[in-house]
């Protein structure tokens, strides 16, 4: 059977199945379990109304439970029960954790992750804020914004490829080296050769992608700053810099924090860029690439232990992020 036919059948079965589910479950609720007739009509309608939301939420809860909640616990379980060797198993429940924390590769990955978290969200948010403010009143601001936003539409691997060309050692290919030679440098230099600081070249890729995201959100927030507070500041004698930093930025601080933490969470999970651009260098590794390596080599104990560490790192940021965005909505 051609792929397109199986694809269409899958779509039909999926959509039809959902429609059938909602129709049948609601029919059962309204006609069989709590029919809107008879002597208990009031009670029945009330109960049916109370139950109905659960019918609609159930598929999502079920799918998320199956593919998200169960794996989390299973990973946790594997990390304390699955061991690559008898030797390791003999050292107790948390042997996987002890082993990864004492491995040099893991520590480098942890340090790199820390650097990524420090640099990328800060830089993306900063550049996004600048882009949002600078394009705000321009006649061609929307074009500029589209350009800044465009990398958001490129996959991480695609972006890594683009930047691999940018960093390419051959001046005929890499634009950075082309620029260097244009200014008189002799040969091209290799930007990414496994130095620990080379991580920064990789971070540029993610900053390039995420600046657009930060800009769009912050641009909307800046538009939401009441115009008359700005006019009041003009009358109070504030110059454009003071208006921006003392009036506008403080008023959108909640949004800035949400953008910051959202990018932080993303950075803690980033994998593709390092895998695509720095996979051969141990010095550029981050936690997710370490996890994948353990997974690929069949060491599920290490892989799940690292994933639990990542989760523990993301969790507080996540909770704070959700709280902050809820507070902002109020």
């Amino acid at each position: 059977m051609p792929v397109i036919v199986t694809g269409l059948i899958t779509i039909l079965v999926g959509v039809g199945g959902m429609v059938a589910y909602f129709w049948v479950s609601n029919y059962l609720l309204d006609q069989v379990i709590y029919p809107a007739r008879g002597e208990n009509i009031g009670r029945n309608v009330r109960r049916a109304t109370a139950i109905r939301p659960w019918l609609f939420v159930f598929p999502a809860v079920f799918a998320l439970g199956l593919y998200l909640v169960v794996p989390v616990f299973y990973s946790g379980w594997l990390s304390v029960t699955s061991f690559a060797s008898e030797n390791l198993a003999a050292r107790g429940r948390f042997a996987n954790y002890a082993a990864i924390f004492s491995s040099g590769g893991f520590r480098i990955a942890l340090l790199n992750n820390f650097l990524w978290v420090l640099v990328v969200p800060a830089a993306s948010t900063f550049f996004g804020l600048m882009a949002a403010q600078l394009t705000d009143r321009l006649s061609w601001g929307n074009i500029a914004k589209s350009l800044v936003f465009m990398p958001m539409a490129i996959s991480f691997v695609g972006a890594s490829l683009i930047w691999s060309f940018v960093y390419h050692p051959d001046p005929e290919i890499g634009i950075l080296n082309a620029l260097r030679t244009a200014f008189g440098a002799g040969r091209g230099i290799t930007f990414i050769d496994g130095d620990i600081v080379d991580s920064f070249w990789l971070m540029v890729v993610l900053i390039w992608i995420q600046t657009g995201f930060a800009m769009v959100i912050l641009s909307a927030a800046l538009r939401g700053v009441p115009e008359d507070t700005i006019e009041a500041a003009i009358i109070d004698g504030a110059n454009p810099f003071q208006i921006f930093f003392k009036i506008k930025v403080p008023q959108i601080m909640p949004t800035i924090l949400v953008v910051w933490t959202t990018i932080t969470i993303l950075v803690l999970k980033v994998y593709d860029i390092v895998a695509a651009m720095g996979n051969q260098y141990r010095n550029l590794e981050i936690l997710p690439t370490q996890m994948m390596q353990s997974f690929d080599s069949g060491n599920y104990g290490f892989a799940t232990a690292i994933s639990v560490v990542i989760m523990v790192l993301v969790l507080p940021v996540m909770i704070w992020n959700i709280r902050q965005s809820r507070a902002e909505m109020r």
Partner: protein, 377 residues
């Protein structure tokens, strides 16, 4: 402290849309000038031009004899209170009031002194550490005023400062502003409102703006008693002045008028010239000046369609004589039950009868009167 002089000021948007033209106005030190007018008349625009938030596209604006057309707002010596208060939401009351002083790099001690003095004057001392969101509407309003006071401006500008307050608070704050003005007799204030009660109670002079120009400038009672056009006559006072079609039948020191409808006769204290004999005019009588009468000399006779008894007064809405006429309204003091559906005769005292020829008051026809081409309401 400051006088404000506007000469031939105009505002044109995009080279074609003229919203204000020929604005000539002298505001003297210590005056509280109120701009009133129907919405869209440009009163807020004019205020924002004085503030420097809108560019003046023609004419000159002088503050204390200095042309300030191109002087930035902060150096014009003005302060503005916004309709929405425009408090900085992330700053405490203290910081809100201190902001302009900090921008001006004053030393801490004198900032503190000024802020506390203003807070004291406005009873805000207990709230200095609060954020604006923790304040009531009236308190926010006072912070906005306090923010102006600390700058010690030559001219205070108020842009509909009371319209975000509820009715009771509006009355209280209006009185507070009046008291504030009395405490600062030398400060000049310009106040924009669409509420004529605010205009009548606060103003030393009212500027009625309409149709892109100044319809009339005068003290509140001047505008009430001697409106220069039917526009101002109907704009000031509520319910609006009744305008009845009539004809001049007697001229001289006082004018005798015959009404087109019901051919009643009234006398007005407005003087007229011999040439006015037989001229078609509009006879203006305010609802509150209408007197019920049994006499044969009445100004108006009509059937009462609706009555509204407010206790202190009773409003009578008369049947329209033609669908496109405004309903004549009478406002009789006290309670008058059982008038609905009855035919009632009304008249007015000669000093309360206004006469307009071609929309211009007989009292003002020697000067140039700008008659806005819009309806007052």
């Amino acid at each position: 402290m400051a006088e404000l002089k506007l000469t031939d000021v105009e505002k044109v948007y995009g080279g074609t849309v003229r919203v204000l033209s020929d604005i000539n106005l002298d505001i003297e030190t210590g005056e509280l000038i109120v701009f009133v007018g129907p919405s869209g008349c440009g009163k807020s625009t004019l205020l924002r031009m004085i503030a420097g938030l809108e560019k003046i596209t023609g004419g000159t604006l002088e503050i204390d004899g200095q042309v300030v057309n191109d002087v930035p707002p902060s150096q014009r010596g003005i302060a503005m209170v916004f309709q929405s208060y425009a408090l900085y939401p992330h700053m405490t009351v203290y910081e809100n009031m201190a902001f302009s002083l900090r921008i001006a790099r004053l030393d801490k001690a004198s900032i503190d002194k000024k802020v506390r003095a203003a807070a004291d004057k406005l009873q805000l001392t207990d709230f200095l550490d609060r954020l604006p969101k923790a304040l009531s509407g009236g308190q926010r309003q006072r912070v906005a005023i306090g923010r102006s006071i600390v700058r010690d401006p030559k001219v205070y500008l108020f842009d509909e400062p009371l319209s975000n307050l509820d009715a009771a608070l509006r009355v209280a704050t209006r009185i507070e502003i009046a008291q504030l003005k009395e405490q600062m007799p030398d400060s000049t204030m310009v106040y924009v409102t669409h509420d004529q009660v605010e205009a009548m109670t606060l103003a030393t002079r009212i500027v009625v703006l309409a149709g892109g120009g100044i319809a009339q400038v005068g003290t509140p009672l001047d505008l009430y008693e001697r409106p220069n056009s039917t526009f101002v006559a109907q704009f000031i006072g509520s319910p609006a002045m009744n305008l009845l079609a009539g004809k001049i039948v007697g001229t001289g020191e006082t004018t005798t008028l015959e009404l087109a409808e019901g051919s009643g006769q009234v006398t007005s204290n407005y003087p007229s010239r011999e040439g006015d004999m037989g001229a078609e005019v509009q006879v203006g009588i305010r609802p509150e000046d209408m007197i019920a009468t049994e006499d044969d000399t009445f100004a108006f006779q009509g059937k009462v369609e609706i009555t509204e008894a407010l206790g202190e007064v009773t409003l009578l809405y008369f049947q329209k004589s033609a669908p496109d006429h405004n309903a004549v309204i009478g406002k009789l003091s006290g309670i008058h039950p059982g008038l609905r559906g009855k035919s009632v005769r009304l008249t007015a005292k000669p000093e309360k009868v206004h006469v307009f020829r071609d929309g211009i008051s007989l009292l003002h026809r020697d000067g140039s009167v700008f008659v806005p081409g819009v309806q007052p309401h």
